[in-house]
């Protein structure tokens, strides 16, 4: 029967094979696992670290990794294995907290700049440019000097307050695009205030485009903390973080103790690579098209 009614010129197109993707495909599983282990290990470090990370064992300074001290000890005789997990807490906390500060500042600044009249926008953007043109390192030294001696909160604040500009610019551009859309106008007509429009209408729309930058900001903040502590502007030696552990590096270079430099660095970089991969995945998952080439 069927064969009698073959339509000429119309070919049945085989349905494209819809490959069933497994839940883990395309996701940065390895990075997530590594980051998970590091975060979990740092948060629960009290449960398993073998030594007191702050105790200075003066009989065992500069010991290379061995059975008792798995990652060796530093020039002050502290156990590096314990310090890694204990100090990771502070490094991760600074990364997280600084990002919260900078994101909040960026959203507020960008949104004001995007919504308000042109002259204010111009002024704010000009200020941003000025802000950007002071070298980051000097700016941090200034602010840190004004705040006084560095502690965990003040250093997060300093890093956060210097790292919001790029997000703010993106927020501003996005806000300028959607501020005249019907739903914002409607909300305004109904008497919604700035706060409500910002959090209920604008934020959900630009959050996906800044998500990548926010994640990258965590990475930047962790790197900044370690750099500052290394250069002696950040956390002091007694406050253990990955950065302050590395500030012993110049002494370690003299004695050739590679473990003091390499081990905290490897943890630092592993965290940052994992965060970067997750950030890249976030960005990629937003748009993926076929190549025409």
């Amino acid at each position: 029967m069927d064969k009698q009614f073959i339509q000429v010129g119309i070919r049945r197109i085989p349905a494209p094979a819809t490959k069933k993707t497994k839940w883990y495909e395309g996701k940065p599983i390895v990075s997530m696992v590594i980051l998970g282990i590091i975060v979990l290990g740092c948060v629960c470090c009290d449960l398993f670290i073998p030594k007191d990370p702050t105790y200075m064992d003066l009989y065992h300074t500069n010991v290379a990794p061995n059975g008792e001290f798995w990652f060796g000890t530093d020039t002050m005789g502290r156990d590096i294995f314990s310090m890694i997990w204990y100090g990771g807490r502070i490094s991760l906390f600074i990364g997280f907290f600084a990002t919260v500060i900078s994101t909040a500042a960026a959203i507020l600044f960008g949104a004001i700049s995007g919504i308000e009249p042109k002259w204010l926008d111009n002024l704010l953007m000009r200020l941003t440019d000025i802000f950007l043109s002071i070298p980051g390192l000097l700016l941090i030294i200034f602010i840190q000097a004004i705040l006084g001696r560095a502690n965990v909160l003040s250093i997060s604040f300093v890093i956060g307050i210097t790292g919001w500009t790029s997000i703010a610019k993106v927020v501003r551009t996005e806000v300028r695009q959607i501020r005249n859309s019907e739903y914002v106008v409607a909300a305004r007509c109904m008497g919604a205030g700035f706060q409500r429009i910002l959090w209920k209408h604008l934020t959900p729309n630009f959050i996906s485009s800044i998500m990548f930058m926010v994640v990258m900001n965590i990475r930047g903040a962790i790197a900044a903390e370690s750099t500052l502590s290394f250069m002696g502007i950040g956390l002091s030696l007694e406050v253990i973080s990955w950065g302050s552990m590395l500030s012993l590096a110049d002494k370690a270079l003299l004695s050739g103790s590679w473990w003091i430099i390499l081990i905290p660095g490897v943890f630092l970089i592993a965290t940052m690579v994992a965060v970067t991969n997750i950030g890249n995945w976030l960005r990629k998952s937003a748009n993926r098209k076929e190549s025409n080439l």
Binding site: F142, T173, A223, L293
Partner: protein
Amino acid sequence: MIRKNPFVYYGQKLLIFILSVLLLSVVVFYVSRLAPGDPLVSYYGDRVEKMSVEERRWAEDKLGLNDPIHVQYVRWVENALEGNFGISYKYKMDVLEVIGGRLANTMILGGVGFVLIFVLALGLGIFCAWHEDNWLDRVICKVGTITSCIPEFWLSLVLILIFAVNLRWLPSSGAYSVGNKDDILDRVVHLILPMTVTVVNHLWYYAYMIRNKLLEEVRTEYVLLAKSKGLSKKNILFKHCLRNIIPSYLSIMAISVPHILGGTYIVETVFSYPGIGTLSYESARYQDYNLLMILCILSGIVVILCNMIAQVINERIDPRMRENEIAETSEVTNVG
């Protein structure tokens, strides 16, 4: 859009530029004086502690530190307009002299580094886009991501540990060996490590950008058309796609000049390379106000100028840009 008179256009830019620099100088002047710390220490060294009250007052008067800040600022501007930027408290020389001796070093490190990054990033980006999702591309992407995550100071430390401490092939600090100031080979040897760090640290960021921009371009309709006309892959990629992304690459690289220069600050400090970076770090930490001001203004001028160049390039390519500014300032790592 009505084309503006070029004089008006560039005049406006110049005005904005001058205003920005002026505002920058005000901000830096006030902020640096708000910071606690004793500028006398950098001028008189340890003798400050033994000074009596009258001696201190006299010293502060001599350096003009007792006047209200705005008086100090006006005096500074007046002197600066005459080309007199004061003396460095620490080096007790004219600040321009202090900087002059070191500017060339930073220019070499930053300038050559910038050119290397510019060329290598372009090559690497095209290479990766050509081999999209190939194993080669994947390996390079993975390695690149890791290198871009390594903090500059750590990479410097590891390189020093390997090449200077263990292998003893390369020097670990300075710009030349003592007494060997004019030996070019010696200088080059001293440059290798800092240069490697600078390039490796920034390279992937730009290469990845090129790769992604090319891949975005490859997904447009005109490429499909070109391909159906029978053009070769090489032809399409180099003659069509590349040509479309080069202008935006140029503008991004213009913005990145200060970014890369900022990165050399840390590298210079770790390698104790006598450049602008180590100098500004010292001057900010030890309240060497006059030196600090000129350094901040110099770097500010570079940043503002580069941003303007980027803006001009962008507006040339795409007149729509005149309305909105460059949003693509890239993720900014705070330090450098």
